[in-house]
């Protein structure tokens, strides 16, 4: 199939899901070409078969037999639905980040890409990742809408200001791939380019050692134990004063078993506590208030550095299977000036 890929000018298949998408691409485009050619030739055939022989000759109406009509409609609709089923399954796979990914925070702004790694590293325009590992990107924009597009991965995700969007990929093929902004974002749009550098695991470890890190005060620690770094950040930034690690309700909800769980929000909505939700809750705590809690958390925008957020999310993910406190129910801590809040739902 490689010749077909080259014929269609498709870039290399740099991600694990690219090959499957390309196979569907070949099937759909093949059907397109065959279908379009068939219809066109059919029309040319009728043109040659039924030329006008005498001016003004009359013709009898010719009703197409209904089985032919039915066959065309059902046949085409079946093909279209088959494309849809395969495409939707692939789409769900591409759009749903796996749980065990290495998280990288992506901030887009006119006209550059910034990457923050959970180990405290950061980089601009070049995303460096290890091969063979799931990479989960948590992305937001500082100004207008951008779009994270790596053609070789067949991956694109709009990066919207005020929202945290996730995307993921795994590349087993070390190399350097083009990163482009795909959503028009101003005069520098076509210069908002970057690279995704996929390194073999050993090279990645060496890169980590030499990579630039944030100042020590903001860095959660570069020793590689991201969960421990996250715990450090949680202690240093005071998170644990309100959020417990054992399932007890504090001023805020507990972090135990929170990751990827369904959270009921005030107002009746519910949301899955994924990377995007957790990040947003740190930056805009008032946006999604958990049912039964009051909106007292201050924003950590500008307080937490990107790598700190990443480390915290790693830590919360590790607590996804934390043991819950079995029997002891601690008294709720309630801010004094307010009345007793509604009991949180179990």
């Amino acid at each position: 199939m490689n010749w077909l890929r080259l014929l269609l000018y498709l870039p290399p298949e740099g991600s694990t899901y690219a090959a499957g998408i390309d196979r569907l691409h070949f099937a759909v485009i093949g059907t397109t070409l065959l279908g379009a050619t068939f219809v066109f030739l059919l029309a040319v055939y009728f043109l040659l078969r039924h030329p006008r022989r005498v001016e003004g000759e009359l013709t009898q109406p010719l009703r197409t037999p209904w089985p032919v009509e039915l066959l065309v409609v059902v046949g085409l609709q079946t093909a279209f639905l088959a494309f849809w089923v395969v495409g939707a399954i692939q789409y769900d796979h591409v759009m749903t980040p796996p749980r065990d990914g290495l998280r990288v925070y992506v901030t887009a702004k006119q006209w550059m890409w910034k990457f923050g790694y959970p180990g405290g590293h950061s980089s601009i325009d070049v995303l460096t990742v290890p091969a063979g590992r799931n990479i989960v990107l948590v992305m937001t924009s500082r100004d207008v809408i951008h779009s994270f597009y790596v053609p070789a991965f067949r991956l694109k995700q709009d990066v919207v200001p005020g929202r945290y969007q996730t995307a993921w990929f795994r590349s087993d093929l070390p190399g350097t791939y083009d990163l482009e902004c795909a959503e028009f974002c101003g005069t520098g749009h076509s210069t908002m380019l970057g690279k995704v550098r996929v390194l073999p695991a050993a090279d990645y470890a060496r890169w980590l050692e030499g990579a630039p890190t944030l100042p020590a005060a903001d860095a959660p620690g570069a020793d590689g134990d991201l969960v421990a770094s996250g715990r450090d950040v949680a202690v240093r930034r005071g998170c644990l004063q309100c959020h417990s690690l054992d399932g007890q309700a504090g001023v805020g909800p507990s972090w135990a078993r929170l990751y990827r769980s369904s959270v009921a929000l005030a107002g009746g909505r519910s949301v899955v506590a994924d990377e995007a939700y957790l990040t947003r809750s740190m930056m805009e705590p008032q946006a999604d208030v958990v049912d039964g809690y009051r909106a007292v958390m201050p924003t950590y925008r500008g307080v937490l550095a990107q790598p700190e957020v990443a480390a915290l999310v790693e830590f919360i993910e590790a607590l996804g299977s934390a043991p819950l406190s079995p029997s002891v129910t601690l008294p709720r801590v309630v801010p004094e000036e307010e009345g007793r809040p509604q009991e949180p739902k179990p």
């Binding site: 000018y9 498709l10 870039p11 998408i21 569907l24 759909v28 485009i29 397109t32 070409l33 379009a36 066109f40 029309a43 009728f46 043109l47 039924h50 030329p51 006008r52 022989r53 001016e55 003004g56 000759e57 009359l58 013709t59 009898q60 109406p61 010719l62 009703r63 197409t64 009509e69 065309v72 085409l76 279209f80 639905l81 494309f83 849809w84 395969v86 495409g87 939707a88 399954i89 789409y91 769900d92 796979h93 100004d143 207008v144 809408i145 779009s147 597009y149 053609p151 694109k156 709009d158 919207v160 005020g162 929202r163 482009e180 795909a182 959503e183 028009f184 005069t187 749009h189 076509s190």
Partner: protein, 566 residues
């Protein structure tokens, strides 16, 4: 068989469409055109204005293509480039494609095709023309003030902070929307209430069905556009921040609203084109459509389902998996209606008596562009594939093939097919065929390479590009020159034909459609007496009853019966 015993028309003998002055000849002053309420004259005014818009938008496109001859700056800077592609889109979509067929040909033909004297509200019709002119002037004012650089989609929050003339541009589009709505209302009322006696819905020419479908979409969808772009204008002008996340707004909500209009808008552009094709194919095949009902019902199907597919423009904008799947499957459904039409047109040729003239060449060009573009539409509606193609040149090529290629070729087919009806003269057939072929070649050469550029990962709206794309870019640019040349040639011979073209006669194509039941060009009131259409609009099994002529009656020698196809 003579006119009288054919009995097809209840026009009393002695009064003739021939004897009354034509709509063109009745008055020649500027005032008689500027204040006309004759739907035919208004149609002609629209035609001239939209041709101007087509050439303006085409000029922008040619500059854009020349800019892309080299990977970096060729003739304009990045900001100018951004404004050019924005104004190209705005002029082509709102000033040319949306009014091109409905407002020009629809105005001219719908009342004649249903046997009416005029549209239901002739003065509203004139008003909507002037609203269109006013909106167009506002867009030109915006251009004069430096133009707008947001893309024709006005995505927020960029459009709220863009340094360019966003406010006059959206004001122009807001005003243009009123014109569209007024025309749509006019057509709906006309078609419901003014059909000739005895003309049921399923005896209308198919072009009228497409005008009905498009009018319904215009009336329902355009207000949403007006609201959305107004808010964009207010965000930009007064800093309202309704779509600005830094002030609590949601830019993705804007995308939903915009595409709720703009996806049906592509059917506003293509349904009239389909209507033209549904007339051209039976006429030049001299054969009834393979299934009238299939074309009529699929028109309604497109008009309805077209409203439910907007989310396929947002597969990577962060919509939920469920939404994506729902919009994906609905998009597959809307494709089937178009496929039904395509097969019906092609099967109409089976058993016909086909004569290859310029409009039919344009049908073949339409068929190629529409089917290929439509199938790539199925491809981009396939969710996982769209993730790669979204906002790349593949999408640009796709919508130029189906929307522009489809509308432009059908518009050119209409221009040639109804040229004798509107002017009473013929265009030169040789020039017509040659330039039709050149249009197709130029079009494919311009846009086919863009499918490959999109595959390779070339995002749209890029001023600079990777030098490895240059060969494909140059081919595309040369193609645009061919297309531009074809358009200039077409315009030239049509203008010359206005004055020196051969006299066409009343029904040069020997069509059965109802607009040919009167003189070409028609008199001001279309028919000299109330018409009764006894034959169907596609009854090619019976001889054309002909126009009633003064002095010609049952005494005239009987014409030999036309030959019948075995």
């Amino acid at each position: 068989m003579t006119t009288s015993d054919a009995g097809a028309l209840s026009i009393p003998h002695g009064t003739s469409a021939r004897d009354t002055p034509t709509y063109l000849g009745i008055a020649k002053t500027v005032r008689s055109w500027a204040l006309t309420t004759d739907h035919k004259r208004i149609g002609v005014l629209y035609l001239f204005t939209t041709v101007f818009a087509l050439f303006l938008g085409g000029l922008f496109a040619l500059i854009l293509r020349i800019e892309h001859l080299t990977p970096t700056r060729t003739i304009v800077d990045a900001y100018t480039y951004d404004r050019l592609f924005t104004m190209h889109g705005i002029v082509m979509v709102w000033l040319f494609m949306i009014p091109s067929i409905p407002a020009a040909f629809g105005n001219f033909l719908v009342p004649i095709m249903i046997g009416a004297k005029d549209v239901a509200f002739p003065r509203l019709n004139l008003l909507s023309y002037y609203i269109y002119v006013t909106g167009s002037i506002w867009v030109l004012v915006a251009l004069w003030m430096g133009g707008c650089d947001t893309g024709w989609t006005f995505y927020t929050p960029y459009s709220a902070h863009s340094p360019s003339a966003v406010v006059p541009t959206v004001l122009g589009i807001f005003v243009l929307g009123w014109s569209t709505i007024a025309t749509g209302v006019n057509f709906i009322v006309t078609i419901h209430t003014m059909r000739a006696r005895g003309m049921g819905w399923f005896r209308m020419p198919l072009f009228v069905w497409s005008m009905y479908g498009v009018s319904v979409i215009q009336v329902l969808a355009t207000p949403v556009l007006a609201i959305s772009v107004s808010i964009v204008g207010l965000d930009h002008w007064l800093d309202w921040g309704l779509f600005d996340p830094s002030r609590g707004g949601d830019p993705v909500l804007y995308q939903h609203l915009f595409w709720f209009y703009s996806h049906p808008a592509v059917y506003i552009m293509i349904l009239p084109a389909m209507g033209v094709i549904s007339e051209v194919v039976p006429t030049f095949s001299h054969h009834a459509p393979a299934s009238y009902d299939a074309i009529a019902y699929s028109t309604l199907g497109i008009a309805f389902v077209g409203f439910l597919t907007w989310g396929h423009h947002m597969f990577v904008a962060g919509i939920s998996l469920f939404d994506a799947a729902a919009f994906g499957v609905l998009s597959m459904l809307v494709a089937i209606f178009s496929a039904i039409k395509v097969f019906t047109w092609v099967l109409t040729m089976r058993g016909g008596s086909i004569v290859l003239r310029t409009p039919l060449i344009y049908f073949f060009a339409f068929l190629f562009l529409f089917v290929f573009g439509g199938m790539t539409g199925v491809a981009v509606a396939t969710q996982s594939l769209d993730v790669h193609w979204h906002d790349t040149y593949f999408v640009v090529a796709h919508f130029h093939f189906i929307m522009v290629g489809g509308t432009l070729t059908a518009w050119l087919a209409a221009l040639h097919y109804w040229f004798p009806k509107m002017t009473g003269r013929m265009y030169p057939e040789g020039w017509g065929i040659a330039s039709a072929v050149l249009v197709l070649v130029g079009f494919v050469m311009t846009f086919f390479p863009q499918f490959l550029l999109g595959n390779a990962g070339m995002p749209r709206r890029y001023y600079n590009y990777d030098p490895r794309f240059q060969p494909l870019m140059v081919i595309s640019t040369v193609g645009s020159w061919l297309l531009g040349l074809a358009m200039v040639v077409t315009l030239s011979y049509l203008v010359v034909s206005l004055f020196v073209g051969k006299r066409a006669g009343d029904n040069p194509w020997d069509s059965r459609s109802y607009e040919w039941y009167t003189a070409s060009p028609p008199p001001t009131h279309n028919f000299t007496s109330e018409p009764a259409f006894v034959l169907g609009p596609y009854d090619y099994a019976s001889p054309f009853p002909g126009l009633p002529r003064a002095g010609v009656d049952a005494d005239a020698p009987e014409a030999p019966p036309p030959p019948r196809r075995s």
